[in-house]
Structures are given as C-alpha cells and as structure tokens.
Symmetry: C2
Subunit: 458 residues, 2 copies
C-alpha cells in the first residue's frame, strides 16, 4: 500500500488535471453561482464539483473519487442507508412542529437520553449548532441570573450575534464590544504556556484550569457575573487538543464555585467522534448543559440541548421558547436513526480502534518528516501540528496552507485548524476503515515529501 | 353545507370525546414526553396526537381528520408529493455544505431569484427564520455602520438573543436592556391610534409612517443610529393587518433618509401566502433585504436572505459568515421543489381566489355574530378581531381563548393572535379549496353560537 504510485496512477483520478483544473461544466457553475452568491467561500484553488457521496467517499462530476477526511456532518457515512430510509419514510407521512403530540420526537428524546449520563435527561430540540448554543446560554443565564461567559481563545461556536461574540476566532472588529465575554488560553500541552516535559506533567490540569480565575474576576468586576463556561472538548479550532485528564474537573470546580454552569459544546466532539459517545466523557466530568448539532442529523438540520430536570424546570418557569422546525417528525426520525446506527455498529469501539490506527500511522510518518511537530487529538478527530523546527516549534503555516490542495489532487479531502493555521485536521466520517487510512497515509507521505523537498516551502 | 350536524355527526370524529378527551396511548405519550421535555408547550387542552398529514388534512391516531387552518410551514400541503420526492431523491445522493460546488444550490438560488424583484438577486441560505433574521440584521449593520433597529410593537421574529430582543411580544424582563431597539405602533386601522372613518382615510399611511420619526430620533440620541426597519408585512402577531397602501413606501423614505435599510421579514407573508409571491409586493415597494423561513422548505429547515448585489458585496468585503446546513443539496432540493410547485400551480392566483372566498364567508358570518368586530388580513392569512361590543371595540379575549379548543372538537385547527389575544387566525396550507372553507365556516358558526349564547362567555 505504500507504493507512491498507488493513488496518482489511479485511472479514476485521471480527469483532475484536465483543462487546467476544472472543465466547462465547472466554469459554468462558478459563473452561475457568482450571479447569486455573496463572496465565494468555495474550498480549494480549483473547487471540487461534487455530485454524489457514499460512506467515506465523495464523487465529482467526472467520476473522480475523493476520500473524505474532513466532513463531520455525515459522520455515519455519506448517504447512510438507514438514515436516508428514515428521512424518506417520515417525509411522506408527517412533518409538523412539536406542539402537537407525536411519537417520533419522544422516541428521539428517549434515544438521545439513553446515550447521556442519567442526570442529563431533558432534551430541547433545535435546528443548528448556533441555535443550540444560543439556547444553552439562554438557559444558563436564566438559571444563574448572571450574564458573563468564559470561552476558549480562538474558539468557534457559530454565527448569530451572541454566538459570534463568543467565537473568539473572529477578529475583534467583527465581534464588537463584549464586556460579557472572557477568553482563556486552551490547554495546549505541546505549544501553550504550560507544556508536557516529563517532570511536572501532573500539574498541567491545575495550571490551565487556574487561568479561569482571572477571567471570573474580570467578569465580576464588570458586573457580569458568571453564567457559564462554554467549551468544545476536542478544541476543534485550536488544533484538536488532548487536555490534561483532570482539566475539566478542576475547571468545573472553579466555575461552580463562582455560581456558573459548565456547558459542553459537543458539535464537534459529540456522537462518538472521539471514541466515547460524548466528548466530555473522555474527561470524567458531567457538564450541566450539553449541546450538539452537525453530526446529529447526517445533513438534516437537527441540533439539541440536554440538561438536568432541575435546571430545565427552573428555566421553563421563567422563560418562553419555541423552535418551529426543532424536533419535527422528520428531524426526529433522522436523529434517532443516526443514534441507533451508532449504537448498533458499536461506533465508539470502532472509533477507538480505527482512530488508534490512524494515530499510530501518523506518528510513524513523523519519523520521516521533521515538519510533523506533534500528533494530537482523540479518536477520529486528530490534528498534526506542523513546525518549521522541532526545537523552536515555530508554526509552518505557509507550508500547511498548501497541503489541503495538494491532498485534494491525490483524492483526499482534509482541512486546517489552529490559531496559526498550521495544523492539519483529520476528521473523517466515522465509518472509515483501515485501508482508507492507509490511502491517506500514502498521500500525505507523498505530499509532505514533495512540499518539504522544495525548500521554498520551508 | 351549512347543516350544523355535518361535522359533529361525522363518524370519523367519533373518538374525539372518548375516554375524557384522549385515550391510553395519548396518556402514555404525555407521560413519556414529560420525562424528557422542559415545560409542555402542547397546543390544546386535550393535545392532538397526530400521525399523518395530507394536503390540508391532518389525522390523529384514532383516524380522526382535522382540517388544518393553522400551519404555514407546509404551505404547499402536508406531505406534498413533489416536495417529498425531491427530498427523498437528493437525500440518497448527497448532503454536504456549500463550500464545494454543487448544482442543486445554484438551481435553488436561480429559482428563488426568479420570484423576486430583479434588484434582489443575491441569495444567502440558512436554516431557520431566526438565523435568517440574524443574518439580515448582520448585513444591515455591517453595510450602514449603525446598530439601531426599529420593529413593530408586539412583534415576533424568532428566538436567538438578538432576535428575542427584536421580538417585542416578549415581556421586557425576557428581552433585557435594548438601547438598540425601538418599537412603533402597527398600522391597525381598525383598533389603532388612527382608524378608517371614511373621511381622512387617505392620510392613514402617512400618519402611521410618521411614528417612525420619534423612533429614529430616540435611536440617534442613544448613539445607535439606524441600521434597519424590520417588519412582517402581514403583521402576524398583531392580528393580521391590512396596512394603508402607501404605508411602507412612506416608511421606506423616512428610513432611507436616516441612513437605514428596509428589511422585510417574509417568514409569514412570503411564498404566496397573501396572494402575491412575496408579501411586500402588496404594497408597491422593494425592500433592501428580504428574509424568509418557515414556508420555504415544507418542513425541511430551509431559510434564506435576499439582497442586492451592492449590499451583498459591501457586506462580504467586511465580514465572514458560513452556515453548515444552509443550502445543502437536500435543503436546496426541498426549497426548489416548493418554489416550482407554487409557480406551476399558479399559487398566487389560487390564493387570491380562495382567500377572497374565505374573506367573503367570514364577513357574511359577521351579520349573524356581533362578536365579529373586523375581518382583516390578506390572501390566506386572515384575522378576525373579536369584540365584546362593536361600539367600544373592547377585545373579547376570554371568549377568543376558548375558540381554538372548541374548533378542534369540530375537527378544525386554528390559532389566536393579536396583542390582546382576541384575534382568530386563519392560515391554512395554500392548497386549500372552497369546500374546505365551507366546512370551517360551518364549524365557526356553530362555535360562535354555542359560546356567545352562553352569557358567561360574553
């Protein structure tokens, strides 16, 4: 499998370079799109024109096959037959809101609750991660009577006004004046203020958690109080990190002492991505509120907030909230099918096994490519921190920026992450198998060799 | 058709009163729901347990048929075969985000643009009306450099933090501190500050539009400036109103003079509801930004923002925005199918004809029932303002509150609206036909007779 010619000689990839990168149809689509869209937002120098998906594979109009190591919405596989069938069946029967009794939404809630710690028994259904984040914060503010929020530096949670304010990856000019937000440094033990060094590694959780103290203090001095700490436990936009094992528990103690709630943003880490059903389970703590989005409906816009009965009842007694599409029977059918598929396939075990294999292969590649500074993350959400020099750990951002396009030319779709844009992001549909991983490793080996050998890229 | 026994003798309705309003299955569902939901939010004293929908009809678990005069999401009819087929087909092929080239989203954008005034050529796809409202305001603020928003009193636009602040139907305690919002009185010419009286009716548009002046002034004095005026042209939460014909044009002049943009919230009035394709077309003015949600995807969460190339380009040059599910291929297939169905069925003409028939029948009922103060609204979004006394126009709120349950017992689902909760709301799927309307009129006649004759209800 490690024959360098495996992929580039693949006849199914023959059209990729034809006509300067794309063909007449793609030129036409880009033109038609340009008439009605604002900005481009298209991935890749030569955008991919996708027409079909199946499992871990995407296909373009010329029949080229792409191994998808980027998309987390279709985490049970593109066009998963069980999910598609559930959507098809229910769409022909009934779609209406949850103010009428309907069994589908109840079954979905029961299925979701069965995946969560017992205390998180109340489900609120919405449509997107942004709406879920909005609702989680709304509940936390209502219940605590406070306004302040602590998030990670360089975080991304979504796109509404409030959630943009919480998404510190946006420049300050777009986030505006945010006295109600404080950001703390993510627990990056490879590149952050406190690093694994073999001597004091057991102190790292406490050291990073202690950073919340000054954030709480600042919020209190601005009369905001603390409503919640909101965190994505896989640290997607920060390069996919492994936090110290006791980090969240120590953070949770501080947040609770200050009267705030712990909110887990499980849009990225949720639904088996990291090898446990929910990302926070990696860290032996139970958040007060959990929300998820992307992976829950396999492309049908389904998102949810989960919390305790005590929090839910206090909130419901003092607020009014309704979401038209949230939990409608088709959304519920899709969501339930996703959760059932994950259970039936023992997806957490599969992710642990295949994720460990991917991690091992990436670590092996590091022997050959000094640009690989660190392999990090959990399960099937892994990051590679690329460096110009392993001693200084200077981010290899320019070279990193060229890799997704180069990998695409070899039929593999990956992304970038991290505050310096120097981390490669591997986040395939969870149904990926070991031979798929072998193909990615071959392609990455080739790409790193080609780009690193050209000293202009160093 | 006006035989009072038509509906109540219908054998299909026989189970409705069995077992004190609902049966063992419904008791079980309410219990199971109670375990996992926050609050009830269920419509009706005895909630309806729906299992199937078709056209204008909904069916409960006992096979009872309900004529749906409430749901505007399935405006092309419950389980519309063309829309269902579009969702079924595309769900099995591909669902991914719009950062890859895909023809479906382009076709949807082209179809949508073809329904709008030429100037509104740019489409941005999101998932819900709330997300669309957020994005419309984000664009307006970015382009104007101002923060202030004018909305209607007792308005409802959605459920995020910002959109809740804009939704003045929420109590102030839930909206919080909103220096960036001003609300003006809706142009209710039956019940408002300026009324149709036969003498100065041609002045009403100007009189109501003039109310924006002090709102603009207040925003400017609070250093907010004016980003936009946001209005639902059917005034859903204010009872479904007919504004004076020149109201929006005069308002538009004032808003533009103050540097603001006109945003039309077409979640309610859009997609043929009022007898024109878009609600604002009733008033001979073109907004700068239009957004819609509910009716666009027939239950698939699809929403959109439309604006001019000039506004879109200025915004895109100074902001970053991405929506994961918005405009995904299945969402686009659903949205395109809805718009095509509306066109192929000449839905605007159908709504004009059937809506006029409904209005005539309701006005005729007013001869018999003095509680009917006014029949208002447009197309297939009509309101009846119920009064205790036609001279004083005192709202008959207590009696109105009993009507939806009473109508449900006769197999017709309707809702309430208005700041006093005294307006009946008639908003059926647009595929409704005249015989359906006859059934509603019979039921309403019966209900008004029964409730009005009982003087405890007056």
């Amino acid at each position: 499998m490690k024959d360098n010619s495996t992929l580039s000689n693949n006849p199914r990839m023959a059209h990729i370079h034809a006509n300067g990168g794309h063909e007449a149809k793609e030129t036409e689509l880009i033109e038609r799109r340009g008439k009605h869209f604002a900005g481009s937002f298209l991935f890749y120098h030569d955008p991919v024109h996708l027409v079909r998906g199946e499992g871990v594979y995407l296909y373009d109009a010329q029949g080229n096959e792409y191994l998808d190591f980027y998309n987390n919405v279709q985490s049970m596989g593109h066009a998963n037959p069980k999910v598609v069938e559930a959507i098809r069946e229910q769409a022909g029967i009934l779609t209406t809101h949850t103010r009428y009794l309907n069994e589908k939404v109840i079954e979905f809630a029961e299925e979701a609750a069965s995946t969560l710690p017992d205390a998180l028994e109340v489900c609120l259904f919405v449509c997107t991660g942004t709406e879920a984040c909005e609702l989680a914060v709304r509940i936390a503010r209502s219940v605590t009577g406070s306004n302040g929020l602590i998030v990670m530096e360089n975080s991304y949670h979504g796109n509404s006004k409030l959630v943009t304010e919480m998404s510190t990856a946006y420049p300050e000019t777009l986030r505006g004046d945010t006295p109600h937000i404080e950001a703390i440094e993510p627990p990056n033990t490879y590149r952050g203020s406190f690093r694994l060094d073999g001597d004091n590694d057991q102190l790292l959780g406490q050291q990073y958690a202690d950073l919340a103290e000054s954030a709480i203090d600042k919020l209190q001095r601005r009369d905001q109080g603390l409503a919640a700490f909101v965190c994505d436990s896989i640290f997607d936009s920060n390069g996919a990190l492994d936090a110290p094992q006791d980090y969240f528990q120590k953070l949770s103690d501080k947040v609770h002492s200050a009267g705030g709630l712990m909110i887990a943003d499980e849009v990225q880490a949720g639904v088996c991505r990291t090898g446990t059903f929910w990302g926070f389970e990696q860290y032996d703590f139970v958040p007060d509120i959990v929300f998820t989005g992307k992976p829950l409906g396999a492309g049908f816009p389904v998102a949810a907030v989960f919390t305790t009965r005590q929090i839910a009842d206090k909130w419901a007694s003092q607020d009014m909230y309704f979401n038209t599409f949230g939990g409608n029977p088709v959304a519920s059918a899709a969501g339930k099918a996703v959760l059932q598929f994950a259970k039936e396939q023992n997806m957490t075990e599969h992710v642990q096994a295949v994720g460990a294999y991917l991690q091992t292969q990436l670590v092996e590649l590091a022997d050959k490519h000094p640009i690989i500074g660190n392999v990090q993350g959990k399960g099937l959400f892994l990051g590679i921190d690329l460096v110009k020099d392993r001693a200084t750990r200077e981010p290899a951002s320019e070279l990193a920026a060229k890799i997704p396009d180069a990998m695409k030319q070899k039929g593999v779709l990956i992304g970038l992450t991290g505050a310096f844009g120097n981390c490669l992001k591997f986040r395939p549909p969870l149904v990926v198998e070991k031979p798929d991983i072998d193909r990615v490793i071959v392609a990455l080996d080739e790409v790193l060799s080609e780009l690193s050998d050209n000293k202009d890229n160093r």
